[in-house]
Amino acid sequence: MTTERSVEVTHVSRPATTPSQTVGPFFALPGGLPWPDGPELLPPEAPEAVMLRGRLSDGAGEPIPDGLIEIWQADERGGFAHPDDPRQQTTDFPGFGRCATGPDGEFWFRTVKPAALPTPAGETEAPHINVTVLARGLLDRVVTRIYFPDEPAANAVDPVLSGVDPARRDTLVATATADGFRFDIRLQGDDETIFFAV
């Protein structure tokens, strides 16, 4: 009897999560999810700024024109603009960017390459950017990570990157371009990007 009651109380105080649903095709309304400055984490004149470009495509290799890409990352010193970072490495860098894909599936951000980060287990995570992909046809967001091609030593010991299938690891590593990096995202297919459950 007592046990049953306590189970009930526990249930009441722990509501279950609201389910995810697709953004649908029409989130890019005037005043809607995409913001004019959404892809610009830094102004063009910022000396540390790099361009991150990519293309979102489907299982047929076709570009996805109704996708939304969001990024979340630390700054070039490893700081997050967030109170829950116990290192309290506060920063003015917003860390968040949002870009709707164009008719050609392309997206872009003006950002910085982040620093490596410590983990609670005493390991070091290589510089990385977390990515959320939302689109018509995706009933829940999918999450991936961008690593950097000029960090082979850090990438080799990164606890996430070194734990994934070596044959698919390259799908998480950007390529260098004249003004920054390129990271294409393939939702499906032989070269499907690695996606994560968080």
Binding site: T18, Q21, T132, L139, A197
Partner: protein, 251 residues
């Protein structure tokens, strides 16, 4: 505290951990919703440990919210057509804690079931006085409130004579990258639920109910607008970080 280097290995980081609950969410490869067929990843998802990038998240403040963003009925020169409604509720996490100062974004069709979007081909009238987008912040107790127009149902081409139930899209960030949620709010008793593969993609009937708002007489505005209540529950966080060494393989 140094600001020019990462933490020393000897600094023990203590981080919250956000619970996953896969049972609440739809499967990406819900075949009845045809757009999933080329867009849902086919390989298994890899588990991402919850480290610094995952337990932090965008802090989007009032600079993102304009004065009339919460009231979709006053954003233009005239009154939008349709049934005015108030939609309010609370954003909490699955530990029952309110999520304060969080950005809530909505977008929707107008009363006739048409989006103000070049890609919407439904031959229903556009409303010059309705954009269908809104933003607000939750208060210190997690409460949010919008004034809008009840959206209409509309046809789409997923299957023979397919109609979307009336719905309002919601986007929330919560406090951490792991709490990000995009969902849809549906209206009670909609006769279109049974044939909608997006609503039905959530297999658990109890979980589907969590996407349906409740009529809320107490929040109606007499002589002016009806009201609906919609609470949104994000993943909760455990404050206690030390849970043995299962971080790599638990779920």
């Amino acid at each position: 505290m140094s600001t020019d280097s990462i933490g020393k290995p000897s600094d023990r980081l203590i981080l919250p951990k956000y619970e996953r609950d896969d049972a609440s969410h739809p499967a990406l490869d819900t075949t009845e919703y045809f757009s999933t067929s080329l867009r849902s990843p086919l390989r298994p998802l890899q588990l991402l440990p919850q480290n610094l990038t995952e337990i932090t998240g965008p802090v989007l403040g009032h600079e993102r919210v304009g004065e009339t963003d919460h009231d979709l009925t006053v954003q233009h020169g005239g009154e939008p057509l349709g049934e005015r409604i108030v939609v309010s509720g609370r954003v909490v996490d699955s530990d029952g804690k309110p999520v304060p100062h969080a950005l809530v974004e909505i977008w929707q069709a107008n009363a006739s079931g048409r989006y103000r979007h070049a890609g919407d081909r439904h031959p229903a009238p556009l409303d010059p006085n309705f954009s269908g987008t809104g933003r607000c912040m939750t208060d210190e107790n997690g409460h949010y409130r919008f004034v809008t127009i009840k959206p209409g149902a509309y046809p789409w081409r997923n299957h023979d004579n397919a109609w979307r139930p009336a719905h309002i899209h919601f986007s929330l960030f919560g406090r951490a990258f792991t709490q990000r949620l995009v969902t849809q709010m549906y209206f009670p008793g909609d006769p279109l639920f049974y044939q909608d593969p997006i609503f039905q993609s959530v297999r658990d009937p109890k979980a589907r109910e969590r996407m349906i708002c409740e009529f809320d007489l107490d929040s109606t505005i007499p002589e002016w607008a009806l009201s609906y209540h919609f609470d949104i529950v994000l993943r909760g966080s455990h404050a206690t970080p030390f849970e043995e060494d299962e971080d790599d393989d638990d779920d």
